[in-house]
Symmetry: C2
Subunit: 274 residues, 2 copies
């Protein structure tokens, strides 16, 4: 690559780092890339670090030594996250979202990539220290959230299917009881989709009693995997505590009331903000 | 916001633009944000523009006048895209991917957010001039591709379901014949998920004869919507031309041979590169 002036180098390095979160980049990579001295690169990184941190974009960790380099860790401040969630809560609060059975229509909100990316960034920030191998979810509405989270953590995604599709090869299936409908359902995961003993972050869009997430946890036992964290976008607070099947989780929003008769909804920020 | 030096401003503006593709940003937004003169902002943008264009990140379009500003249009050069696809083709070429029935295991490749983002960027570049309202796909494996594409185009995503879930409200359902299995299947879309007369880009992970995509096109007629483009990640070239149900589409890779007996696979770049 041709030699760049500092101003151009800053633009180039900024985009390079933003697209490679949680990846150790040796200083020599940049020095070679721009035919620049390592000392100049270090000065550039100091400028980028200051802006990233003051803008709440995340941390730029520099590691000294032969195996050293720089790593971009996406973060989001709690204050900024809370503001974003409060905006979403106002959107969720609309009576026309109430569907038969007390369900809530959220597909429009989860259909906006920008919103999904913010949710992913919040989960990535919340779980970034947990030493993870993979992000897992169950089809369908958890999928974009899982990809957004995994992108910021630089991890692959594994999708549990609600049926056993022929295109996945041999699979492990389990039956589970959906906490809310009490019906027996099946979920399955292809054998080759997950290495044994993986460390897994589970995310999903909605949790009532937690039957679906408990199902994923049981499924993971078949792979001798460890659940290192559980994140849900919206939890329903209408469930008695004794009915809860999952205890240790992070929620970004909490539905405290959905009344199909009076058409009233109450949503508040979830336990992540408590 | 406090006044920033040019170097810090460049870092800040780069990330601001990268996260807001296809969005017109008035120069006054930047001028106010950094308490800088518009002339300085224009000089900054010229530097960013040069780097974005020489790095193949995309175009920075500047519009003059009262309603003017700057817009970042993500692009990817054909040469770079071809290299990325060739790397994917080598991965797809492994005999252990062949599943019973001549299917191909791709979930590991589509489980990597970085790969999915590149696919999305290619579709965004290919269809960016088509004046679109929404990106549509059918569950399950098309979903991450749809979000990646939509993110670069600054559009919402609509997901067609293979069954009619209670959590979506009233829906339009159609039956369609899967081109490869010849079975009758159902797909449905919530009434409120799509405005009438929307201009739609359809994307999916795999197309054999095109029955599923034809199904989505039929479904869109019920919403009086217009299909403005069709993009598939991998198409199967094993189908006779007369069997093709969809004519106008872009494919990124083409499976020319899957032989479960000899365990041979042949994959090549798709029609986008022809």
């Amino acid at each position: 690559m041709k030699k760049l002036r500092r101003s151009a180098r800053l633009v180039e390095m900024t985009q390079y780092l933003l697209f490679r979160p949680h990846t150790l980049i040796p200083l020599t990579t940049f020095a070679d890339r721009y035919s620049s001295a390592k000392s100049s690169i270090s000065e550039d990184l100091a400028i980028i670090k200051e802006v990233f941190e003051s803008e709440g974009l995340g941390e730029l960790m520099t590691m000294a030594g032969a195996a050293g380099g720089v790593k971009y860790i996406p973060k989001i401040s709690k204050a900024y996250a809370l503001k974003a969630i409060q905006k979403i809560c106002i959107q969720l609060d609309q009576p026309e979202r109430i569907l038969p059975g007390g369900y809530l229509y959220m597909s429009d909100i989860l259909g906006v990539p920008g919103v999904v990316n913010e949710i992913g960034k919040m989960f990535a920030a919340a779980f970034s220290a947990r030493d993870l191998d993979v992000v897992m979810t169950v089809e369908t509405k958890g999928i974009p959230i899982a990809y957004a989270t995994a992108q910021y953590l630089n991890l692959p995604v594994v999708i549990v299917r609600r049926d056993n599709r022929v295109t996945e090869g041999s699979a492990v299936s389990i039956n589970y009881v959906s906490g809310s409908t009490k019906r027996i359902q099946t979920m399955s995961l292809a054998r080759r989709a997950l290495k044994e003993q993986s460390r897994v972050l589970i995310v999903d869009d909605f949790m009532r009693a937690g039957g679906t997430i408990k199902g994923m946890m049981d499924l993971l036992q078949e792979f001798r995997a460890t659940v290192k964290g559980v994140g849900v976008f919206v939890e329903s607070g209408e469930v008695d505590n004794e009915e809860h099947l999952v205890e240790d989780y992070i929620s970004l929003a909490k539905l405290t009331d959905v009344d199909a008769k009076t058409r009233k909804i109450a949503v508040q920020p979830g336990n992540y903000f408590m």
